[in-house]
Symmetry: C2
Subunit: 617 residues, 2 copies
């Protein structure tokens, strides 16, 4: 039954030989790898405005210079990543680059930061996608839909998880349509908005319920600007995706990947600046009453709330779901790398029925669903946790590149050091700014979790290393054949199920068989002994007393003593076990056999064997 | 660690030889067996008033004649139960009397009804006890305590459950003090109340927040009177306790038990009528705002809210907790009877460390806690479910007695038939009244659950009968010794843990040993084969292909085919299993071994053996 449900949900198993890697053209690759990066324009401007709003409407104008600063940072980081793409044509994620060039600990720090960020990518993107839908619904007469934001978000997480468990092929078409629809919608909105503002002047957005804007609030100072800047840095999340996925490009892989990265950053910068400009021109601000997104406010202000607005909102929601989907490729892959290197449990590196890393997908789904529930699908509340991890990984990855240039000294390594050094320096500065300004708003959780994760990775690694050393055949010698075999049959009563067990014990240990019975009720014991005489096949019986009615302790005591008799034998404990015809009928029988087996598992030198007697009905 | 926690909570194990039965004097027996019955006056009057209130204050006066009717019924039932006590000196609960005289199904119906009622006894009594405490707190300046009613009730259930898991001796002293304190308090309140009312006239209760009394409401008619009567019948719950516990009395058991029953019913009737009279005289009514109990209102009105009031409230709370405690003796005992007769899983008839039926106690605790949570510790809301089961058991038990008189025709059997016949008839009528009037208020749940429970009892019985028939040695013949032994060793890689398994397999099956390996990764397989040649000790190796990366299905297929080779052998599947030094490290290793064992358990003719290799650290 469980199997059938699984088949229905995730489909029939796929044979290993069908594993293949589709090579992507630049146009498709842009769609596949850029949804995470591009979709961040759906919340980055809003995140900046949400901070500036604390100082009242006077500060909102700062959004433009801040956005320009972020755009410059974006270009530096992109330029820096082009170096990584060239150096790692087989894919250079933060974990790989940092571990290879800086050592285990920086690699694990990058890995921990990235794992956390992938979980946040899902939670943030899905929540923002739901916000796009509820904003649309609010303007189209269904303002009540926002009450179901958490349920909608959980539904999308379930959907994306299932799709990934089935194994979505990263085939271009599915990704291309929403991504290019989103780019088209955004560029249309920005160009039409700018032109019509220029001709007719801009009109402020109308609100169903005016947002609360403090007349005076926090002072406009460096701290506020830094906080707003940090908030906007979420626009940079996802730009490392192309460097992870170089092998998926057509030949020449590195060159095509670099070109795609340049295109992506160009489009991203354009959209981010355009949206921030329009938000300022149309007075779009986060609205805590209607929960309408800033992009929805702009789109509605530019195009009215007709079909073009509808198109933009749906495209936004779709690209955000795709962005979450990107994390479903990244998280299980990174987890499988860590698992392969024995920093995570083995289970993360085994491919499931459908060739995907099922355990990684499930873990990502569960953690992101918990985040969505905890933060009530409010992406603006989630954002302070986001981006810190990304910048830690940026910094480590770029520093790793600097180290690599110094080590390999390939052609043009001085220029490479300059580029990656600038990238590493800037991202390090931004990382500190992010950590400090967002610390009390939630970033402390991430900064606490990363070292804990690193400790966990190390502990797991130590355990696996330990086990493999102990299991190593290096200095092992072939064991001598067994000289003697003793068997103890545990008997709870005289019935048909006991006979095969006795026969089996006699077969493996011939005359060295003893049966053991625990006396829990003297009357029953007397009757048992009589029947035993009749059916025992000559096996001697030991009856143990149990003053505390426990089966386990007298049995274990006896077995330990019995085992001590010979030093050169192996002791097999034989349990007669009758197997009911239906699995649920197991519940109706004492689970003592299981308890005995568990207790004996941790005692050395005993082998436990269940001899089953199958009931017919 | 788990063991230590258990020791701390429930104490050291007690040896079987310490099992003993204390014989109780009449005075102590009254305390031990009557807490359930006597404590019901704490809510029975309130239950009547809660129904009458629906018709406005005009109907409240009907409480007196209704209470008199219930008192008469009480006496008839008590008189009827004296017959049961005489006929069953070893204890005659509803299940035993009905099953012995009317057959299995009526017995099981009585058992199902009683099990449900025991759970309700705990939920109702604990909730009412908490209401006594929160009423006290409300009048002593802590009205906020009623917000924590559910938490308090769950705490008491936990406390009583733990006390019973430790094994409370039914020693008189613990029971005598609160029971006699309660009787003393109630009788003092009633006599002082009546006398002072007679001398000074009665004054209505003052309320912190006046209760809502509809001016006109439902029509005062037969339906309302019947519903109020049904509500008051909760006063009869628990009076069967003495007939269950006859063997605990001093000799002559039956005579002493009968006398105690008469005393108990006398005190109960007196208290019930007195409280109902005073409630009417002082205008005490259920108050949905303050949640103050009617008894608390009366006590406060009679004595003021000083120390005597405090004493009465605490005594009420204590006797209600004791009443819940009674169910903790009854439920596990009845469950053990049912389990002994194979109508419930065996686990209910095994005594735990502390000589108590631990599983019954745990089941009762869990179910009553769920009820308390679901009904938010509101005993008045729980009452419509209560008492229906009791009256079903009364009717079946009294009918059983009639049948017994007809069958045995002992001395005075005609008188016996008259008494039990009247009892059976009256309780049957009340049962119908209860079922009809309370049906839509919750009794339908009970009336649905009882047949479901009976079906479950029967299914369990059929299963156990089935198993014992199949395991019977009646027509069994001694099995021939095993002629041939084959062994298959499942190998996942070449390491130290494999060597003991190979050696073991060779010891039990000498030359008939085959090793099996599943090829999941061709490169790994090649390396494995090389190392195998070096270490295999001459055991032939079979490598299985697995196109879907599943370990299980190719293994199972191979084992089935391999087993078919010989018909006169037994096949042992040997699993090398390495045991980590710490139990939690199990999580870091694939659970494949467990899966294989489970899958093989349901396949006939295979014996599965794990040969452990213990890691040192």
């Amino acid at each position: 039954m469980v199997t059938q449900l699984k088949r229905f949900l995730v489909g029939e198993p796929i044979a290993t030989e069908h594993q293949h890697n589709e090579r992507l053209s630049k146009v498709t690759a842009l769609a596949v790898f850029s949804s995470d990066a591009l979709s961040s324009v759906a919340y980055a401007t809003e995140a900046i405005l949400a901070v500036l709003l604390l100082a009242g409407s006077v500060a909102l104008g700062l959004s433009l210079p801040i956005a320009v600063g972020i755009a410059l940072l974006l270009m530096v980081v992109a330029f820096s990543y082009r170096q990584t793409i060239r150096a790692y044509p087989k894919g250079g994620g933060g974990y790989i680059v940092a571990r290879e060039n800086l050592g285990d600990t920086p690699g694990l720090v990058a890995a921990g930061a990235l794992l956390i960020d992938y979980v946040l990518t899902v939670a943030v993107s899905i929540s923002a996608g739901v916000a796009a839908i509820t904003s649309l619904a609010g303007n189209w007469g269904y303002p009540g839909l926002k009450e179901y934001a958490v349920e909608l978000a959980l539904f999308f997480i379930l959907l994306v998880s299932l799709a990934n468990l089935r194994g979505v092929k990263e085939s271009g078409a599915i990704f291309a349509v929403p991504t290019y629809a989103f780019i088209l919608g955004m560029l249309a909105m920005i160009s039409y908005g700018l032109v019509s503002d220029w001709i007719f002047g801009s009109t402020p957005v109308t609100h169903a319920h005016a947002p609360e804007i403090p007349l005076t609030g926090e002072a406009v100072g460096l701290w506020l600007v830094l906080r707003a800047f940090a908030a906007g840095c979420t626009a940079l999340t996802g730009i490392e995706a192309i460097s992870d996925g170089v092998p998926a490009f057509r030949q020449p892989e590195s060159k095509n990947a670099s070109a795609t990265l340049t295109w992506m950053v160009g489009v991203l910068t354009l959209m981010f600046l355009g949206i921030t400009w329009l938000a300022h021109a149309h007075n779009a601000v986060p609205n805590e009453f209607t929960h309408e997104t800033v992009v929805s406010q702009i789109a509605r202000s530019v195009f009215g709330d007709g079909s073009i607005y509808f198109f933009i909102q749906i495209a936004t929601a779709l690209i955000l779901v795709l962005a979450a989907n990107t994390a479903y490729a990244d998280f299980p892959r990174l987890a499988s790398f860590l698992s392969r290197d024995r920093f995570l449990p083995r289970q993360f590196s085994s491919r499931g029925d459908r060739l995907v890393f099922s355990n990684g997908i499930l873990a990502l789904g569960v953690f992101s669903a918990l985040l969505v529930i905890f933060f009530q699908a409010n992406e603006i509340a989630l954002l302070p946790l986001y981006a810190v991890g990304v910048f830690i990984s940026f910094t480590l990855s770029q520093s790793g590149m600097v180290r690599r240039h110094l080590r390999i000294k390939e052609e043009g390594w001085r220029k490479g050091i300059a580029i990656n050094g600038l990238g590493a320096f800037l991202t390090a500065v931004v990382m500190v700014v992010l950590a400090v300004t967002k610390f009390t708003h939630g970033a402390w959780v991430v900064l606490l979790l990363i070292p804990l994760l690193v400790l966990m990775f190390r502990a797991i690694h130590a355990h696996y290393k330990n086990v493999s050393e102990q299991l190593s055949l290096e200095k092992a010698c072939k064991p001598a054949p067994l000289r003697r075999h003793t068997a103890v049959v545990l008997v709870s009563g005289m019935h048909k199920g006991v006979l095969p067990a006795l026969r089996y014990a006699q077969a493996i240990a011939s005359d060295n068989v003893t049966a053991v019975y625990v006396n829990l009720d003297p009357d029953v014991t007397v009757r048992f002994k009589e029947r035993w005489q009749e059916w025992c096949c000559g096996v001697p019986l030991v009856v143990l007393d149990s003053p505390y009615r426990s089966l386990l302790s007298p049995l274990l005591k006896f077995i330990d003593e019995y085992d001590r008799r010979y030093s050169d034998d192996v002791l097999t404990v034989v349990l007669p076990e009758f197997v009911p015809a239906h699995w649920w009928e197991h519940l109706l029988h004492n689970q003592t056999g299981l308890l005995i087996k568990t207790a004996l598992l941790f005692r050395k030198g005993k082998v436990v064997t269940s001899v089953p007697y199958h009931l017919e009905r």
